[in-house]
């Protein structure tokens, strides 16, 4: 196939002579190999490969933000009010929310019916967490486990986001009873 790549290398005479460049490459890989082996022989870390997904690296920083959770209210409902701030700020356009109305619940009239994060697009910037006014979405130390053959199937749905690691301590707490309420004559 004769495909033109935008970053096609420009080869000079030296590169075309081939053998010298190959030897240079072998030197680079070789030095890394022996360097790592030396570390291993002297009982230091360095050359160890984690066998993902059987093994998970244990040395992620505590600040790692690898995966989203949606927090829950006291009664287990999703804390999210479906304001779409996260979806709006997301630079990868990877959050999609479908809202429902619940006219009877004064403290949760708007809630997400579907909440999808497309991990094939997410760039793990954490903007969604910053934007959320409800402390409803957080990112915690983990990895998004979405190996798939098809990018369309790499979405995390509401159920998963809410329940894969249940979190019930959102900073904003909703009361359960209306306070200081004025009852509408026809609403009663």
């Amino acid at each position: 196939m004769n495909k033109d790549y935008w970053n096609k290398p420009a080869m000079g005479l030296w590169e075309r002579l081939y053998i010298f460049e190959v030897i240079r490459g072998l030197c680079i890989t070789g030095s890394v190999f022996f360097g790592n082996m030396w570390k291993w022989l002297t009982l230091r870390k360095g050359a160890l490969t984690a066998y993902y997904p059987e093994e998970v690296r244990s040395d992620y920083s505590p600040n790692n933000r690898g995966r989203h959770v949606l927090t829950q209210r006291e009664n287990g409902e999703v804390q999210c009010v479906s304001c779409n701030m996260c979806a709006t700020v997301c630079p990868a356009y990877c959050i999609e929310i479908l809202s429902t109305a619940n006219f009877d619940d004064v403290f949760h009239p708007k809630a997400p019916e579907r909440f999808e994060i497309d991990y094939s697009r997410c760039i793990f910037c954490g903007f969604c967490v910053e934007a959320c006014p409800e402390d409803a979405i957080r990112m915690i130390k983990d990895i998004p486990d979405f190996p798939a053959f098809d990018r369309d199937t790499m979405c995390a749905p509401l159920d998963l986001l809410l329940n894969w690691r249940p979190t019930r301590d959102p900073a904003k707490v909703y009361p359960t009873q209306p306070q200081n309420g004025e009852v509408h004559p026809w609403a009663a």
Binding site: P109, D118, N180
Partner: protein, 469 residues
């Protein structure tokens, strides 16, 4: 003409114009809640305060007639401080729930608060609670906490629609908008108050929580509900906000309809039927050509249509009053001389529908009857003329009145139950093409294409040339 000075700029105003109107006309922004160009002056929100040279106090510019030589300041420190204080007062008990308010993004309270308001509230009292999500009517939900009592909605029912169905009851911080006691708020123009409410107090229940407004963009279109041909805005999803996992059909859905301002035809308003235009267009569609009830490819259908037309001895055409002027012209050029042309009303008034009134609604429930009449006159179908082929263009509920003639039906929506035309070719709706309608007064109104047409659906205007060949 009067000359006055606003912010060191000399502007001209007509006799009787207010300072606010003169300023807005010249692109000087003065915030305003209660002022609306089509309603009377209420002067109750006070956010439009300006400094008038030589007067000790600030004046509301919406209620201040322009006089020659007036010197107005709209951005001096004094004015800005007063504005911030007014904003502070207006949102004293405002719930601040923009996160779940559909108005957010096109809300005056939000915009003005960001632009002119103070950041820190001075109130130490807890906010006053009022009923939320109250169903003012089956179409409208009212949130009394968000209402700023500007009375635009009340003035609308008194001055524009004339139903006098809304009022403001109680006093002080208990004041709230209410409908006539014991009555249903069934004003045929009721949804306009959603558009003119400067806050999220009045929201459409149909659109409620369907989408944030900044995901949407308006496209200019025309209502097909009656012969007035009001301009409307059809709101579709912006390209960059197209959804993937929620389903691609959401990207090709009309989310809501709002009035399109058109001083020549409908002013600022449309009727509720116009607000429901997307529902009318959402009826079950005819999506594939059918030859005697069996689905066929587009080429087969066109072949069949050509054959039917060339075989016919005495063909007739029933012209749709939902066709655009451009399509009518295309038909006239291609087939007009080969067929006897009859006109008809695709849609007659539904039971319970307002037939006609002084404001907008017309008794003829089709958009382009006038355009049809100008090209083809006015001739209802004559079943005794012995036609052997009828080309039916537009919706038709029953083929029986057409007699024994073969039927070639061009329609956007599913044909009558249990009957099948000899050939049915699906055509695009008003959302899927652009063109013009001529309203009953003879004014042409243009509509733009909002969505792409489904694959097997044809534009009627492009069909006739092929059929005539």
């Amino acid at each position: 003409m009067i000359e006055l000075t606003i912010d060191n700029m000399t502007v001209q105003a007509h006799e009787g114009e207010t300072v606010l109107q003169a300023a807005l006309k010249h692109g000087i922004e003065i915030p305003h809640f209660c002022y609306h160009p089509c309603l009377s002056i209420a002067g109750n929100c006070r956010v439009c305060l300006v400094k008038v040279d030589g007067r000790p106090k600030l004046m509301p510019s919406c209620n201040l007639e322009a006089t020659p030589g007036m010197r107005i300041e709209t951005v001096s420190e004094e004015v800005l401080a007063a504005r911030a204080a007014v904003m502070q007062f207006i949102i004293l008990n405002h719930p601040g729930d923009c996160g779940i308010c559909d108005k957010a993004g096109e809300c005056r309270v939000q915009d003005y608060h960001v632009r002119y308001g103070e950041i820190d509230p001075v109130s130490i009292e807890p906010k006053h609670r009022k009923p939320k999500l109250y169903d003012l009517s089956p179409r409208i939900s009212l949130d009394n906490e968000r209402c700023i009592l500007c009375s635009r909605c009340v003035r609308f029912t008194r001055e524009v629609s004339g139903s006098h169905m809304l009022g403001i009851v109680e006093r002080g911080c208990h004041s709230r908008v209410a409908r006539l006691e014991g009555k249903v708020f069934d004003d045929p123009y009721s949804d306009n108050i959603i558009s003119i409410c400067p806050t999220g107090a009045l929201l459409s229940r149909d659109f409620l929580y369907k989408s944030r407004v900044w995901y949407l963009e308006p496209v200019r279109s025309v209502c097909t509900g009656c012969a007035r041909c009001c301009s409307v805005n059809v709101w579709r999803r912006r390209k960059r906000w197209h959804v993937r996992s929620l389903g691609a059909e959401k990207n090709a859905a009309a989310y809501r309809i709002t009035p399109g301002e058109n001083p020549e035809i409908n002013g600022h308003w449309i009727c509720n039927k116009g607000f429901d235009l997307h529902k009318a267009m959402g009826r079950p569609r005819a999506l594939a050509p059918l030859i005697a009830g069996r689905s066929a490819s587009v080429e087969e259908a066109l072949q069949e249509g050509m054959k039917m037309l060339s075989e016919a001895v005495n063909p007739a055409a029933l012209i749709s009053a939902h066709a655009s002027n451009e399509e009518l012209e295309a038909f006239r050029i291609a087939l007009g001389s080969r067929m006897r042309v009859y006109t008809r009303e695709d849609h007659s008034p539904q039971p319970g529908e307002v037939l006609e009134d002084d404001l907008l609604i017309r008794a003829d429930k089709n958009p382009n009857s006038r355009g049809v009449r100008e090209l083809f006159g006015d001739r209802p179908y004559d079943a005794t003329a012995g036609h052997d082929l009828v080309l039916v263009w537009g919706d038709l509920d029953d083929y029986a009145p057409l007699g024994k003639a073969r039927i070639l039906h061009l329609t956007s929506f599913v044909p009558p139950q249990g009957q099948s035309a000899d050939l049915l070719i699906p055509i695009s709706t008003v959302f899927e093409r652009s063109g013009t309608f001529t309203n009953f007064e003879g004014k042409a109104n243009r509509f733009d294409q909002v969505f792409d047409k489904p694959k097997l659906v044809q534009h009627a205007g492009e069909l006739f040339g092929g059929l005539a060949a």
